[in-house]
Structure formats: C-alpha cells, structure tokens
C-alpha cells in the first residue's frame, strides 16, 4: 500500500510542477495546467496520509 501511495504521491508532485514548466515552454495551455494541478492536488491529499504517516 505504501509503495502505491508513494508512486501516486510522486506522480501528484510531478503533476503540480511539470505542467507549469510545460506552460513556460509554451507546450501546454494554461487551462490544462490548472486542471492537471487540481487533479494532482486531489491525488496528493489522498496518497500523502498513507505515504507520509507521522510518527
């Protein structure tokens, strides 16, 4: 479970920063950037509790 959460979490973090970088490179429209970032936000908060459980 933790491995899956870790992969999803990393993908969500990538989904938070890669689209803006693509927008900067003029390779992605801003609306799509916003949509991917929102989806990544949802995935992040679903995955992080399983991955980053506090001691």
């Amino acid at each position: 479970m933790k491995t899956v959460a870790c992969i999803c979490g990393l993908a969500a973090l990538a989904g938070t920063i890669v689209p803006p970088a693509l927008f900067l490179a003029k390779a992605m429209p801003l609306d799509a950037v916003k949509q991917v970032m929102l989806a990544s936000t949802v995935v992040w908060f679903a995955a992080a509790p399983f991955w980053m459980k506090m001691d």
Partner: protein, 467 residues
C-alpha cells in the same frame, strides 16, 4: 512564517499539553536525529503569510539585489543564529523556554511573558485568516466579496466579514479538538504547498514571456524605495526572532541529538522565506506589469493565485493559512487559560479564536506584516538574550545562574526591568521616529542582556553587602 513550534512553550502554562518532559531535561532515549527537524522546519515556514510578504516587498519598492542577495544573507544569518545560539543552548540545557525562564525569572513573570506571546500570536493568526479569506472570493461571482488591498485597514464589507468569520470559526472549532489533525494536515501539505508556490512563479514567468527574474524584480525607475538592502536583510533575519534569538525553539531543538540539528532551519528559511517569498513577489509583479495594478495598492493573494494556477492555488492559500493559524489559536487559548483562573480550555480557545477573527476581519494587520513581525520579534527576542547571558556569560561575569530557582522567587524584578525598558525605548523609536521595526530586535535584545547583567551584579553586591 510560522509560530507553531514556538507556541509549544505556552502549553506548559496549563500542564495539559501533549508536549513531553516539560519540567525536566529531555532524556537521551527521547532524542531525535536531524531528519526529524528538516521536514518540520520546511513545513512550518511555508505558510499563508508568505503570499503577503513577497508582494509587500514589491509594494515597498525592494530592488532585485535586496530580494536576491539581501534575503540570502538575512536568511543565512537566521540559520546561523538557530545553529550557533539556539541549538547550542537547547542541546546543553534540554529544557523548554518556559521552564528555563521559570528558573531565571520566576513563574509569575513567565505567565506575563505568555500573555504577551498569546496576544501577539492572535494577531499573527488573524493575518493568516485574512490571507485565507482572500481565497474565498474567486469561488463567487466577481464583485461578490470586495477584496482588501495593501491600503485597507477596515473591513471591506459584510461579505468580507462573513468570509473571515466562517474561516476563523472553522479554525477555532478545529482548535477546540486539539491541533493534532491539523498538524498532520500541515505535514502532508508541506511538499505540495512549496511546489504550488514554485508553480505560481513558473506560470507567471510563462505569462510574462521571460525567465529574467533579475529584470522582473527590478522596480521601474522612480519607484520609491521604502525598504533598503539592510532592511530586507534585517527583516529576513528577525522575522522569526522570537523563535531563534528569543529561544522559543528551545522547545523543539531540546530533542536534538546534536546542535548541528540547528542547520535544519535552513529548510524553512531557504524554501519558505527565500524561494516562496520571491515566487509570491513575482505574482504581484505580473499584475503590475500586465494589468497596471499600483504596487503600493497591491492585489489580494487569492485573486493572484487563482489567476496563475487556478483552484489548486486557492486550496493552497486556504490550507497554508489554516495549518499555521489553527495551532496558533489553540496555543493562544492555552496561554489565556493560564492567565484567567477557572476558565475552561474551551472558553479560552473560543476567546483566542474570537480575538483572531476580530484581527483577521481588519486587514490592517496582514497588510502591515512587514512591520508587525518586526515588533513581534522586538517584544519577544529580549527574553532570549537573558537566557544567552545566563547560559554563556553568567559564570564568567560572576552573576548567578537560574537565580529564581535558587532563591525561590516567583517574580524576578531584574528580568522584568531588563525586558521592558529596552522594549519601551524600541516602541518609542518605532512610533515617534518611524524606525523600521526589523531594525529593533537585535539592539533591543543586546540592551536587555546588558541591563540584566548590570542589574544582576547590583543585586549580588547588595546581597553580599547585607551578608
């Protein structure tokens, strides 16, 4: 900027807190390695208020050199203070600020310190409510909620007040349950929040069609520079003066195996107080250049972030404010509980939450953050200077260590005088001569330390004379 760690001390006023080893040295078995501190500092110093501070630098006409190198130097000085002052004392004494102060100043005086601490934290949490409330506006049709600007001091209307009350009430209700859930939320949110800050800047650069950050940060010719290079250095050094110079982070770093754990503060300073501030500054620069917004009037964080990265950014603004304001309200409640005999924790937290909401409704606090955090450090940092004197210099100067503990005092008048006289002078300089607040914590702390030495020597001579 965050107050969560510092507030740990307030817990001890009521002995109901979850923190451990409040009145004893932290044992070897409870010590933690450096990794425990890196994540904590990174998370705690990426807060909602960062969305205000970056744009405020732009409004104050800070130039590129100040923002790139001034912040670098100031944050480095803050990290060095944490590493070579706070962490050294923390790993040697292994006590909370509260308990160490009790040994020096006496229990009743520490209670007074906690009152000052609690009130200042209410205003800080109020600023976070203000920032979070700006993220509510974009969810409604344009014009439904009139957003405050840097010039706003009073509430902008009924809808604004309702936003602040709803957000503040939600924070207070969660604070009533304790802050464990929110602390976890903050822990989970930290890496994502930092990337959202970064994303805002990257999108802004894309919109402006340049990656020349230096040119973007350079204000147009003729811009009035209200903050100098030195001002930016001092601001970034002392915006958390209460935590490092003021020793509030003894509560955290007493658990460190070695003083080198103090380097962990670099994660908070260079991610939250360097990268995030510059990212937030770029947001306003975009609005100034592309939409003709007057930088001195500014634009609310919610609108800017929504424009850059959409709802993910709005969620970030709300969470960044919430995760830091919530424990602040909780701890401020504990401080008030320590002040008012017989009051329940629920009532005390509601009182603190009410004060925070009242402060949040008035944008004056958030819009004056550059001054407020300087004053916050000015009031609280001198207490740390007394601990520095007691720890490093007391034996060499021939003054007594932990005098209140040895004599059974509940109120050490020397500490009160040494604390209040420099603070009163600093407040006079700020009010009457307009001295930038971030210039005051260091001289105030040094004056407090010197005054404490003089008064302690005088007292020792008097006691010796009587003997």
């Amino acid at each position: 900027m965050s107050a969560t760690a510092a507030l740990d001390d307030i817990d001890t006023t009521t002995s109901r807190a979850a923190s451990e080893y409040e009145r004893e040295r932290v044992p070897e078995s409870a010590l933690k390695g450096p990794s425990a501190f890196w994540g904590m500092y990174a998370g705690e110093h990426t807060a909602g208020t960062e969305f205000m501070i970056g744009p405020l630098f732009v409004a104050w006409g800070a130039d590129a050199a100040s923002l790139i190198f001034g912040l670098l130097i100031g944050n480095l000085l803050a990290v060095l203070t944490w590493r070579y002052v706070t962490a050294v004392i923390a790993c040697s004494e292994r006590l909370t600020l509260y308990y160490k102060m009790e040994k020096i100043a006496g229990r009743r005086l520490v209670t007074l310190y906690n009152l000052a601490n609690g009130l200042l934290f209410c205003f800080l949490a109020g600023s976070m409510i203000t920032v979070s409330a700006t993220a509510v506006g974009p969810f409604f049709p344009a014009g439904t909620i009139e957003m405050p600007t840097f010039e706003s001091t009073l509430p902008t209307g009924a809808a604004w007040i309702a936003s602040c009350v709803v957000i503040g009430a939600a924070m207070t209700l969660v604070a009533l349950k304790g802050y464990g859930v929110v602390a976890q939320m903050g822990h989970y949110a930290a890496p994502w929040m930092f990337l959202v800050f970064l994303a805002c800047a990257v999108v802004t650069l894309g919109k402006l069609g340049t990656t020349d950050v230096w040119a973007l940060l350079t204000p147009p010719a003729g811009t009035e520079q209200k903050i100098s290079f030195l001002g930016v250095v001092c601001f970034s050094w002392f915006c958390n003066a209460a935590m490092h110079l003021g020793m509030a982070d003894l509560s955290v770093l007493r658990f460190a195996k070695k003083p080198s754990a103090g380097w962990a503060s670099a994660a908070g300073m260079f991610l939250g107080h360097y990268v995030a501030w510059i990212c937030a500054a770029l947001l306003l620069i975009y609005w100034v250049r592309q939409h003709g917004v007057d930088p001195t009037v500014g634009k609310d964080p919610g609108t800017m972030v929504d424009d850059a990265v959409g709802w993910a950014g709005l969620v970030c603004v709300i969470i960044a404010g919430w995760t830091t304001a919530n424990p602040t309200i909780y701890r401020a409640g504990l401080a008030f509980q320590g002040m008012i005999p017989g009051i329940s924790r629920t009532a005390a937290t509601l009182l603190a939450g009410g004060l925070c909401i009242a402060a949040g409704i008035f944008p004056a606090f958030a819009m004056n953050l550059l001054s407020f955090v300087g004053l916050y450090g000015t009031v609280l940092a001198p207490i740390g200077a007394i601990i520095v004197v007691d720890h490093f210099f007391a034996d060499r100067l021939g003054i007594e260590r932990d005098p209140a503990e040895h004599h059974g005092w509940s109120f050490n008048l020397n500490v009160l005088v040494a604390w209040l006289v420099p603070v009163a002078m600093a407040m006079y300089l700020y009010r009457a001569h307009g001295v930038f607040a971030s210039y005051l914590p260091l001289p105030c702390a040094v004056a407090c330390g010197l005054l404490y030495v003089l008064l302690s020597k005088r007292l020792k001579a008097a006691i010796g004379g009587k003997a």
